[in-house]
């Protein structure tokens, strides 16, 4: 039987990050993953990540995956794919199915980083072809380049539902509605806003009554839910769709830990192992990292993995003192867990920003900031010449806009969750770096007066084919409704923008604060 110093189960962001640390300390490390490709969910993530430089903000998820894999290889981590871990037994012996064989391995340390699986909800017709998980839709689109459907209804307004809805639009699908039983949008407002301005209507306090069709989905009925979470009779409405996407949460895949005998606890976030801040479970030598120990997102999974990896190396005597490294990762992790969407704020209704500015109710209930609300945020200013307008209205831990501005026009400060402030004295040169760097696509360049009663709006644009210069189309408002005619003046693409194109459109002066999307 082959022995290792460390066996990692799961080659996602947490598992790979941990393996890199243990391998760097000279521990013989192997990672088993049941999938044909490593990286967990990272290679499906085509959007830019939030955060700061330290946690790879404004880099697209799949790039982070590529970097992580390359680093694992450099560090001497062995990754075995199509290898399903079947059981975890006494003395840290595991059985792994590889091809048509079951193999046994032992290690001094086992780290479980199996991640999570998508949850479902049931309604009449939910087992028909055409009802799919949002993660499945992402796999089809972003890994296999297959469009999951033509007309789609999304259930779930958390970040997964919002991000995948946007990606469905990018793939050329029509998203007919974004539905959530909760009365308020669960994910980041900026993610909701970018879906909203493309014209997708939000139905909060609504749920699916039934999927229609005989052998596949041909339609869906939704209805408004009352305070008892039951559908109010008479509120039902029908949509023609061929696909229903479910983004209703994730469940940790913690079965291996339970089977091994680790102390477990049942929580609202799923069935998870008892563990300390460093990933140690109740069993000596068994560690956890990532979503299996509680659902967060990829950036925190990577940091948690690194912390667990260093802890394993320290506990095993391969590293004399890891406290400095751990402190560095803990600081970054602490930063990610700040702000309105921090774990301790889950389920709470927050009405004011840290700055004391009222949160946009329209954003929470309809998916966009109303024209009457937008002026109260510190990133929204008026000045002569071209300047950024930052429609960032919630405290989330993210600051690339501050880093990329060559003229230092944008300030967030040391508190990473603070709303960006546009300095009225600095000279914007209109380079557009901030527009492309904003992971929430919430920054626009505005020139309020270019003469003849016209102004320009530059928007981040991630759709293909790109419109032509000179093309006339319709400018859509934050709510996705047409506001005026628009002419494309310029389309800028650059390696520095990383696939975010900057579309500049000419609109009447009084529309520069309303026009936020271009439809050809």
């Amino acid at each position: 039987m082959e022995r290792y110093d460390v066996i990692v189960v799961g080659a996602g962001p947490a598992g790979l990050s941990a393996a890199i640390e243990t391998a760097k300390c000279g521990m013989r490390t192997v990672v088993f993953d049941e999938n044909a490709k490593p990286g967990g969910q990272l290679f499906k993530q085509i959007h830019k990540f939030f955060g700061s430089k330290e946690n790879k903000a404004r880099i697209r998820g799949y790039r982070i995956g590529e970097e992580l894999l390359a680093e694992a290889e450099r560090s001497g981590v062995k990754v075995v794919l199509n290898a399903t871990v079947m059981g975890l037994y006494a003395q840290k012996e595991i059985t792994v199915r590889i091809g048509d064989a079951i193999k046994h391995y032992k290690a001094d340390n086992v780290l479980i980083a199996t991640g999570a699986a998508e949850s479902v909800v049931r309604f009449p017709g939910w087992t028909m072809p055409g009802v799919i998980g949002a993660g499945a839709a992402q796999t089809m689109m972003n890994l296999h380049h297959i469009r999951p459907g033509k007309r789609i209804l999304m259930l779930g307004s958390g970040n997964v539902g919002l991000v995948v809805s946007y990606q469905l639009l990018q793939a050329g699908c029509e998203v007919v509605a974004l539905v959530d039983a909760a009365p308020r949008i669960g994910g980041y407002g900026v993610h909701a806003a970018k879906v909203s301005r493309c014209g997708v209507p939000f139905y909060l306090s609504h749920t699916i009554v039934q999927a229609e069709g005989t052998d596949h989905v041909t339609g869906v009925v939704i209805g408004e839910v009352g305070p008892d979470w039951k559908v109010i009779k008479g509120t039902e409405q029908h949509f023609d769709v061929d696909t229903i996407c479910l983004a209703v949460g994730l469940s940790p895949m913690s079965q291996l830990l339970k089977q091994a005998g680790c102390a477990m606890k049942d929580t609202k976030g799923g069935y998870v192992p008892e563990c300390d801040a460093y990933g140690r479970t109740s069993m000596d030598g068994i560690y956890v990292a990532g979503d299996v120990s509680g659902i967060e997102e990829a950036s925190s999974a990577m940091l948690g993995g690194s912390i667990a990896g260093i802890t394993i190396a320290c506990d095993s005597g391969y590293l004399a003192d890891g406290s400095e490294q751990i402190a560095k990762y803990e600081k970054a992790l602490g930063n990610l867990r700040k702000g309105m969407f921090a774990p301790e704020n889950r389920g709470k209704k927050i009405t004011q920003t840290e700055e004391g500015i009222a949160i946009s109710e329209t954003l929470l209930e309809c998916g966009y900031v109303a024209d009457s609300e937008i002026e109260r945020y510190p990133g929204v200013t008026h000045m002569e010449g071209v300047h950024p307008v930052i429609e960032c209205t919630q405290n989330i831990p993210c600051n690339p806009c501050q880093d990329v501005c060559p003229k230092k026009c944008i300030t967030i400060g040391n508190n990473i969750t603070a709303l960006p402030v546009v300095d009225s004295k600095s000279q914007c040169i209109g380079c557009g770096m901030c527009v492309a760097a904003c992971s929430g696509q919430a920054i626009f360049l505005i020139q309020e007066d270019i003469g003849d009663g016209m102004g320009t709006v530059t928007i981040p644009y991630e759709f293909l084919p790109l419109p032509e210069k000179g093309q006339i189309g319709i400018a859509l408002g934050r709510d996705g409704q047409p506001v005026c005619k628009a002419e494309v003046l310029d389309i800028k693409s650059s390696n520095a923008f990383d696939h975010t194109n900057l579309l500049t459109m000419k609109v009447p002066r009084d529309m520069v604060m309303r026009a936020r999307f271009f439809k050809s």
Binding site: T95, I102, R122, W126, Q259
Partner: protein, 112 residues
């Protein structure tokens, strides 16, 4: 724990619901109505439910329906789902053909 003989005293008799025929465990084709009836027949834990109806025992091993079954059983018992004892977790973690299991080389198995 509720005594099986007293169960209907505690939770009342079985009342049919509109959506009783909706599938919950798609792997083993178990409906909501079957799960609710099983509670009234005295199956008050997920473990018993699995043995009795096989819900959560199929291809996905309850990864899809586990939460749903828990919710339905808890609602029928009028308790919080967190109060239910979670199901036991056993190897193999994924369904595996007997011909593969049979070839398990044991501790002397070959290395990769």
């Amino acid at each position: 724990m509720i005594c099986v003989n007293d169960i209907e005293k505690e939770i009342g008799v079985f009342v049919p619901m509109e959506d009783d025929d909706v599938l919950v465990c798609r792997c083993e084709e178990v409906t909501k109505g079957e799960i609710r009836r099983a509670v009234h027949a005295g199956m008050t834990t997920i473990e018993e439910m699995r043995r009795f109806l096989r819900c959560g025992m199929g291809l996905c091993q309850g990864q899809t329906c586990g939460k749903l079954v828990k919710g339905i059983v808890a609602a029928e018992l009028k308790i919080n789902p967190l109060e239910l004892e979670p199901a036991v977790s056993r190897a193999p973690m994924r369904p595996v053909e007997m011909k593969v299991m049979g070839k398990d080389g044991g501790q002397g198995g070959d290395a990769v």
